[in-house]
Symmetry: C2
Subunit: 343 residues, 2 copies
């Protein structure tokens, strides 16, 4: 179990432990698990699967439906509507740069991207597949997938492999060269004066206590950082603000809902701040519809601090410097089932 203090410990360690460096540029290639190393063919297969609504039970939902790669990696809604036609319980975060998360889902219940995808495929309000075999059977009946899978994995199509191919594609979704990244790599002109003052305030207000590391979301996975079951923080940290009720922040008990451990009540995986300007609305319930509101609420609930309008403005300027470059991508063509409808 991780505690609130963990953030401070890392903050203090940051000076000399390189791997924990609290402000880090985005590396161009993220780590992949030993049992799911990427190849071009695997990535291409995963990309097709990502855009294919046949992966959902009713055939009305692709991964891209909620995690829109053409936009900020989300769908801009407070809560997404999955294959069942029902809204999800929690807000859809951006998929860009998730390769650098230590755990997945707002409550961190998946310890790898592969496990997160396996769960998503079977969730009623996401892809809605009733069981693994239904999906495997459907994809096996699509000749293009059966062949591509065989070439990539040299076995018959499996549920695990589908999640692996999807993960391999998702790990390519990296947005490099944000003004912040260029600045921290040495180009001191990359940030405006206002953004630099915003960064100073970001440090001074101790936003970094939680939002540090490559993704501004705590430690990234890797051999130097064995986080066990992830890095979590309390939200709201200070109870009883005017925002708590208004935005229903504390209605969802976070990690407690999966572990049942009372110490996990209101504990959450720290969301990334990369491209945050492009992924409104905010919070686990999508209740803050502007960055201005999100910054104001976070200062109040996490630092018991009332920001001036000018301070909010500076922080927003800095947060906008975290918007990277979205690489141009070719649309995949999805393998057909000639002469017949979705199997």
């Amino acid at each position: 179990m991780m505690r609130v203090l963990a953030g401070f410990v890392f903050f203090l360690l940051a000076g000399y432990v390189q791997a924990f460096d609290y402000l880090q540029p985005l590396p161009p290639v993220p780590p992949s698990p030993a049992d799911n190393q990427p190849t071009q063919a695997k990535i291409q297969l995963g990309k097709q699967l990502f855009f294919d609504s046949r992966l959902s039970y009713a055939g009305r939902t692709s991964c891209n439906h909620c995690h829109n790669i053409l936009a900020g990696g989300s769908d801009g809604r407070p809560l997404s509507i999955g294959d069942s036609g029902q809204a999800n319980k929690r807000h859809t975060p951006s998929l860009w740069n998730v390769a650098y998360q230590s755990v997945y889902f707002w409550d961190g219940r998946a310890t790898s991207l592969e496990l997160a995808l396996q769960e998503h495929l079977l969730q009623t309000h996401v892809m809605g597949m009733p069981n693994k075999n239904t999906l495997v059977g459907r994809l096996k009946a699509i000749e293009g997938y059966a062949k591509a899978y065989q070439q990539v994995f040299t076995t018959d199509l499996t549920f695990d492999g589908i999640a692996k191919a999807l993960s391999a594609y998702i790990r390519t979704l990296i947005t490099p060269n944000s003004p912040f990244d260029r600045y921290i790599r040495g180009d001191k002109t990359a940030l405006t004066d206002k953004q630099q003052r915003g960064m100073t305030l970001f440090r001074e207000a101790q936003c970094l206590a939680c939002h540090f590391g490559i993704n501004f979301s705590g430690p990234a996975p890797g051999p130097a950082m064995n986080m066990g079951d992830g890095f979590y923080e309390l939200f709201p940290n200070y109870r009883g603000t005017v925002y708590e009720k208004r935005l229903k922040i504390a209605d969802d008990l976070g990690r407690y809902t999966v572990t049942g451990d009372p110490g996990h009540k209101l504990m959450w995986r720290v969301p990334s701040l990369r491209n945050i300007a492009l992924s409104a609305p905010y919070f686990h319930n999508g209740s803050a519809d502007s960055l201005q509101q999100a910054v104001t609420v976070m200062a109040a609930t996490q630092r018991q601090r009332t920001l001036t309008a000018k301070e909010v403005d500076l922080l927003i300027a800095f947060l906008n410097s975290l918007t990277g470059e979205y690489p141009s991508q070719t649309m995949p063509l999805l393998p057909p089932t000639p002469n017949k409808a979705v199997p």
Copy 2:
């Protein structure tokens, strides 16, 4: 009003009226209306709009959601689910090559692609916009769209212009060089022997009576062919087959539902056969889930003919020769609304 006989008239005329040539290859560039000539900037704007779910009221539906360009131009479902969460009344046809249709929607109620798009944006079970101003206001608030629109149309953003830009993009969705096209242009090796025998049967069984012209859907628009309100045929033509009840073919009265003219009962725009192998399920209600079933039903209901299994096989072989090349496309990046949620 067009009558069943119209098809036969064109069939007879086909020999000497060039524009009505009953078997025609797909030209590389389709016609555009005089008031909506394409430019690269307009097409690019239309492409962004096409993939943008903010064009739907609840923000859960893009044009691509039902007309999946990455697949056959449809969603593979009998009936699509639009922004309201409710199923549409009629099946979603492919968008590829629709530039060559004379009228739009199954009942032909829209006499141009632009008018079809205007209606789609406001239909509850499609994009669900309550009125034109809601959409215009939303897109105007997205700086990238406001700017691009101004550059393309040199006016402020309007509802008509949105439909024009979308139409300009959709008219680029052309699938050239099918085996059939290569064959009819002179490459006699482009069709297999079986496909050639299928083509002979296609003529002999008079499928061409309705499925002729560039798109195998009757006359295409153009100065030589002023079809007025379109080209329609009766389906089912012969009543009382076993399929009529089983597939509920005659439950929807077709063009009659928009004109109220008793002569229009069960009259339908003739659907294109291009890429038909990739756009199952079939018919206005999506009730036929294989090409085998669709061919069998059509022969029975339109020609009062029971095909042998071998004949069905030959026709399917020919129909598979109508699958063209889907051009590679770059995914557009959608203009963001930095720091705030969908306006």
